[in-house]
């Protein structure tokens, strides 16, 4: 097989930097149209078009006509093979500055970018792990050689490596709720590191494994300096959804409150039942908390929610001013907003819930397949 000169792979991490730095990039996505319409790479300075690779088998002329000649070009497909195939033809046709996405959308979906949110009062730090391709966020609290991970992803090696680099031992893994859009790595990471796995008991009535109960008043400490993780029962997205206040400064809201939207109550099939809980959490419970808390959600829906360096965070008082989901005064309008015309449900969400309960144990390939696509946990996600 000939290697087309000038063609080079681009890793998901490199693409992440381009998106976060808002560098110009033109993407040719060669997956089929339905996959493209469902989920694609987004970025403020990213321009993207879709031409399925099977329309480019005879000639790439159709693609060349639509690609500006002066821009850096990235060809993307599901796994890599088809993008490489098309990219090689583009290079043969004389196009320069062409890359293909190494590992395709699968590796894009799995890439994690750790960013530091801030220092803690007693010398520790709080990190956010941005899963940019899927719009998911994990957190690590580190203090005095100990670490706690919140809403761990399936790619547990990333957390283990990061903790090791920081010289910390993972002592706790916590899930704000039973996830429906991605497979939790909380249990696996706890098993691998000897940590304790914590779950809200009301979300865990059907789980098949032992866990510690996340309950109000049962604070968790990290490190000798007692960084406090204070659980706040905040139902609505699920019946057990629990928020955490870390170090009296940060409010980890899970899938209840996002930066530009709010959580949806329907992913466990209980939309009508949970509307009241969601309303109460957002319009009463959170109102009673210190308004200068920094909100750190478990998801983002749009690239516009990414701040400096990719950080997703906002002050609670600012969200009460700007977030449309917190500004629906009429209860009936609220009920309709969170139950009617919701976006499609996340891919394989029922199987994902079963996996997170320990009821089914798909292999790694199957888990990867189940997680394909956007998270769609917010009311306002398209």
């Amino acid at each position: 097989m000939t290697t087309a000169s000038g063609l080079r792979p681009m890793a998901a991490g490199e693409l992440t930097k381009i998106v976060l730095n808002k560098e110009e990039l033109f993407i040719l996505d060669v997956r089929n149209q339905s996959d493209f319409d469902d989920w694609k790479i987004e970025g403020e300075s990213v321009e993207i078009i879709n031409i399925p690779y099977f329309d480019l088998l005879d000639s790439v002329d159709q693609a060349l006509e639509q690609i500006p000649s002066d821009k850096r070009l990235l060809v993307v497909c599901a796994k890599e093979g088809s993008s490489k195939f098309v990219a090689e033809q583009l290079v043969e046709a004389g196009r320069t500055n062409v890359s293909y996405l190494e590992g395709g959308m699968k590796s894009w979906s799995e890439h994690l970018e750790p960013v530091k949110i801030g220092d803690l009062k007693d010398g520790g730090s709080l990190y956010q792990f941005v899963r940019i391709g899927k719009g998911c966020l994990s957190y690590m609290v580190i203090s005095s050689g100990e670490a706690a991970v919140i809403d761990t992803f399936r790619m547990t090696d990333v957390f283990e490596r990061f903790a090791r680099e920081q010289g910390a031992t993972i002592k706790h893994t916590l899930d704000t709720h039973l996830h429906a859009d991605h497979i939790s790595g909380g249990r696996k990471l706890a098993e691998q590191t000897g940590a304790t796995y914590w779950l809200p008991p009301k979300d865990a009535t059907e789980v098949t494994f032992p866990y510690e109960k996340l309950e109000e008043g049962r604070d968790i400490t990290v490190g000798n300096t007692k960084i406090k993780i204070q659980p706040i029962y905040s139902p609505g997205h699920t019946v057990g959804s629990t928020s955490f206040i870390v170090d009296d400064e940060y409010l980890l809201t899970g899938d209840i409150l996002f930066i530009e939207s709010i959580g949806r109550p329907d992913l466990a099939g209980k939309a009508e039942d949970w509307v009241g809980d969601l309303r109460n959490t957002l319009y009463n419970r959170y109102k009673g908390l210190a308004q200068d808390l920094i909100v750190l959600p478990a998801h983002f829906g749009k690239v516009t929610e990414l701040g400096e360096g990719g950080r997703v965070m906002a002050r609670l008082s600012d969200l009460y001013r700007d977030n449309p989901g917190l500004n629906i005064q009429d209860e009936e309008t609220f009920r309709r907003t969170v139950t009617v015309n919701l976006p499609p449900q996340p891919n394989a969400y029922q199987e994902i819930r079963q996996t997170n309960m320990g009821k089914i144990t798909p292999n790694e390939d199957e888990q990867r397949e189940m997680e394909i696509g956007p998270n769609r946990c917010a009311v306002h996600d398209k």
Binding site: N32, S34, D35, Y53, F54, L57
Partner: protein, 193 residues
């Protein structure tokens, strides 16, 4: 493991173990060698091949018939279309619309003259299957006095079938237009994926 009844295909293409884009690349090459109307079976293990082969068939005008899953092997069936197939050609004068047939279901004999693979994946419930190519030798299976409504995909093959039946003395024969292409009435099939 469940075994499926065999579906006749004119060619079987082995794409097992191949990753995207190769199943489609090989299918396209094989398709170029086939005659219009012939059916190819593509065996692939790449899960992505399902959506891709449907997309490719739609964009090229070939007819995607369906897919059977045997263990981890996906067996895709595609029929090669010809350019004139979707063109309307009226030869046999007695026609009914899909909607008219839908109202008469149960009171008439529906004769489906498409290939067995097409019939297996999607058909009108109770339809009798005799592919156009076998119709002449299998006339004995039909009653010349019955009210026979002939369907194919677009009305072209059924038109030829109607002419043949009329020639052989069948009195009450109607060509259903357009046929399965655009049929919104009840259907049944042999397989569920």
């Amino acid at each position: 493991m469940t075994t499926h009844p065999e579906i006749k295909a004119d060619q079987t293409l082995d794409c097992k173990g191949l990753a995207c884009p190769m199943p489609i690349v090989k299918t396209k090459k094989a398709m170029d060698q086939l005659q219009s109307g012939q059916v190819i079976e593509v065996q692939a293990t790449d899960k992505g091949s399902l959506a891709d082969i449907q997309g490719w068939a739609k964009n090229t005008g070939h007819q995607y018939l369906g897919t059977i899953q045997d263990g981890n092997v996906l067996r895709h069936f595609i029929r090669k279309s010809s350019a004139d197939e979707i063109k309307e050609e009226k030869k046999y004068p007695h026609t009914v619309t899909n909607e008219e047939l839908e109202k008469k279901l149960g009171n008439v004999t529906v004769l489906d003259v498409r290939e067995p693979a097409e019939y297996a994946f999607n058909r009108i419930p109770g339809a009798v299957s005799i592919p156009l190519g076998e119709l002449e030798e299998r006339l004995g299976e039909l009653n010349p006095d019955d009210d026979i409504h002939v369907v194919c995909r677009t009305g072209t093959r059924s038109d030829l079938a109607c002419q043949l039946l009329a020639e052989k003395g069948f009195k009450n024969v109607k060509n259903v237009k357009p046929g399965m292409y655009g049929w919104s009435g009840p259907t049944e099939k042999d397989f569920q994926i």
